[in-house]
């Protein structure tokens, strides 16, 4: 599928509006869209809604052998999937530029800033460590995928709890969550990325671009910070030229936004913790909005089973008996086994009228086999009919092969001789 291209008039309109400091959805230049964070049923699953952009993150863990040059550190693996659901432009399985960009930026934001204590993930040094895998799926692309992905990733990592591990000498036991409570990961700080988009060669700047604004922007500056005002990563992309003052200004704006977002995340995590402790149902099912007209829920319903047995019995009785199973391999001749019945051998063994004609054709059987079958069918169709007139085609030379059998019309003979002639000429050509 291809994405619809952006019309020139729409592009001009957007740029003009930005020059007048107006945005499509009425936001101010430095405003973020509404962020909503919900959690799934199991630990480590989180959904983030940034306006209409929707992203899901899932954290999972596995015990693997560590890397050779870091034997006592765990492994972090990030994967951003641009699902075809998010936008018609995303294709399954293709590593587009955007995909590489997002993956690398997220890796640098979370891995290089060392937000997770990887040494605590070690089980047996040099042999077994935990590999934490974060899968992020883009569900709806309405701009600013990077920020939504970073919020989802760090929230899911905070939410995740890994199984407890017990070591007795050489044996390592992983306890399932029912036996021992799982342990949360040890995370030092919460890096969050903020994206700035530049327009008209860097004259205008917008925070949190939506999809339309992203299409007309010149370039993007991504700053990842944590609430302690430490910059974790800066990345400028797109062919824009920045000035030092612009970068400094962006970093100041970013620090304000990051503290707001961090508060939001901590609040959401607390709410979820409370809900889980209270023992109520939690997860995606509960977070479905009930008041919406597009949503409906139905409670557990029993299914009527009263006459099921009778219906089933009837159906089985009325059903045909299964076909006779073919007997086990038959040995017609020593050294040759036959399984199944196979097709009837139709070369010269039939008792029908066609037999005699086939004898005539036996010389050119090989090449004519296909044509013969067609002729046979043709003959069968017409065998019940009356005498057929000779066709009007002049090139045919009509030869009546079996004059004593009248119901086989001359047309049949003609057609067969025609094909015979064709086969003969074909044979001549192959020679």
């Amino acid at each position: 599928m291809k994405d619809t291209p952006l019309a020139n008039c729409e592009r001009d309109f957007l740029l003009k509006a930005i020059e007048e400091k107006k945005r499509l959805d009425g936001r101010q230049t430095y405003d973020y869209r509404k962020i909503k964070i919900t959690f799934g049923t199991d630990y480590g699953c989180c959904f983030v809604d940034l306006g209409k952009t929707r992203v899901m993150a899932q954290v999972s863990c596995e015990i693997v052998t560590p890397k050779e040059n870091r034997p006592n550190e765990g492994i972090m693996f990030f994967n951003i999937e641009l699902s075809p659901m998010a936008s018609p432009a995303f294709e399954q399985g293709r590593q587009s530029e955007l995909s590489v960009n997002l993956n690398r930026q997220l890796e640098r934001c979370l891995r290089n800033s060392k937000c997770i204590d990887t040494e605590s993930l070690c089980v047996v040094s040099g042999e077994k460590v935990w590999q934490i895998r974060v899968d992020i799926h883009m569900l709806n692309h309405d701009g600013n995928l990077m920020d939504a992905a970073s919020i989802a990733a760090i929230t899911a990592l905070y939410h995740f709890k890994r199984p407890d591990v017990g070591i007795q000498g050489e044996e390592v036991t992983v306890y399932p969550p029912e036996e021992r409570d799982p342990i949360p990961l040890s995370i030092y700080h919460m890096p969050i990325s903020v994206s700035f988009s530049f327009f008209q060669q860097g004259t205008y700047l917008l925070v949190d671009p939506c999809e339309r604004e992203e299409r007309v922007m010149d370039g993007l500056l991504m700053i990842a910070m944590n609430k302690h005002r430490e910059i974790c990563s800066i990345q400028s992309s797109g062919g824009i030229m920045l000035l030092k003052e612009q970068v400094m200004r962006c970093s100041k704006i970013a620090s304000v936004k990051v503290s707001e977002i961090t508060e939001l995340i901590t609040k959401a995590l607390e709410n979820d913790k409370k809900a889980r402790k209270a023992g109520g149902r939690f997860g995606f099912a509960e977070s479905m909005p009930q008041e919406r007209i597009t949503a409906l829920k139905k409670d557990e319903t029993p299914v009527e089973m009263t006459d099921v047995t009778e219906t089933a019995y009837d159906i089985v009785q009325k059903a045909e008996a299964p076909p006779q199973t073919v007997p086990s391999p038959v040995l017609p001749v020593p050294g040759m086994g036959q399984v199944g019945l196979g097709l009837q051998n139709s070369w010269g063994l039939e008792d029908d009228e066609e037999e005699e004609e086939e004898d005539d054709d036996s010389v050119e059987e090989q090449e004519e086999k296909v044509t013969k079958m067609e002729v046979e069918q043709h003959r069968k169709e017409q065998s019940s009919g009356d005498v057929v007139e000779i066709s009007d085609s002049e090139e045919e030379e009509v030869i009546i092969l079996q004059p004593e059998i009248p119901n086989r019309g001359p047309k049949n003979a003609g057609s067969s001789s025609d094909q015979k002639g064709a086969a003969k000429s074909k044979k001549r050509q192959t020679k």
Binding site: N103, R104, S113, K114, E230, I234, Q235, I240
Partner: protein, 245 residues
């Protein structure tokens, strides 16, 4: 690399340089006869080779042709012998693809692509020996190669990697300094206007230090641009002597 002192009390680094000193830059232009432009640049122990083909007709997918500009196609790769351990996948992995994208972005900003609509300019860079500052050395080498090819640019593109240790910015990091978890900032600059073509930073750095670090990076880039300018002028002199002008 815990315990390795990156900056001694007297202000010397592990290779004996001062904090703001750049490594020795040596460069040659026009090293390949068959390419339109080529350059070889050494910055300390990091050696890079850059080759430019173009502008020529679009090869490959015609659908990517731009009606008003030239398309810049970059490829970054490292030789398998360039690092201490043999590199198993010289190109095609995520890091190399990301570097190629960054190079493309840098040169799209600097090269005057409006002069060559519907064409393609290829820039290939290969690292022969990697000792830190890979991206910066690539950019510097590629700048010389583009100049050697005679493609007009707005300004020299100079890049430098700076790190932050003990409240001091260190200019032009080498491999040992990069690996120590030091916050490093890579900056590609067009020196005359002070415009930043690419800015990339990893690892934690407090916001207040950002300005000092960027200043240091820009000064270092300006130093590099002087060296590159000299190399270009010298090369021109040699060539004009050979052609007898």
């Amino acid at each position: 690399m815990a315990g390795l002192e990156l900056l001694s009390d007297q202000g010397y680094r592990i290779d004996g340089r001062k904090a703001t000193e750049l490594r020795k830059v040596q460069a040659r232009m026009g090293v390949f006869a068959q390419a339109d432009g080529s350059a070889y640049l050494e910055q300390g122990n990091t050696k890079a080779l850059a080759v430019v083909y173009g502008p020529h007709e679009m090869r490959g997918s015609r659908s990517r042709t731009l009606h008003d500009r030239a398309v810049i196609n970059c490829q970054y790769s490292m030789a398998t012998f360039s690092t201490a351990e043999r590199k198993r996948r010289p190109h095609g992995d995520r890091k190399s693809t990301e570097m190629s994208l960054h190079l493309k972005q840098t040169f799209e900003a600097a090269v005057m692509t409006q002069l060559y609509p519907r064409s393609q300019i290829d820039i290939y860079v290969k690292i022969l020996q990697s000792d830190g500052g890979n991206y910066s050395v690539c950019v510097n080498a590629a700048t010389l190669a583009v100049i050697d090819a005679g493609i007009p640019m707005r300004d020299y593109v100079c890049a430098c990697t700076v790190g932050f240790v003990d409240e001091t910015p260190l200019a032009d990091l080498c491999y040992a300094e990069e690996g120590g978890g030091v916050s490093s900032l890579a900056l590609a600059l067009l020196p005359r206007g002070g415009q930043i073509a690419l800015l990339q930073m990893d690892a934690r750095l407090h916001q207040d230090h950002l300005e000092t670090l960027m200043e240091a990076a820009m000064t270092a880039c300006k130093g590099v641009s002087k060296v590159l300018d000299e190399v270009v002028r010298q090369h021109l002199q040699e060539v004009s002597v050979l052609t007898g002008e």
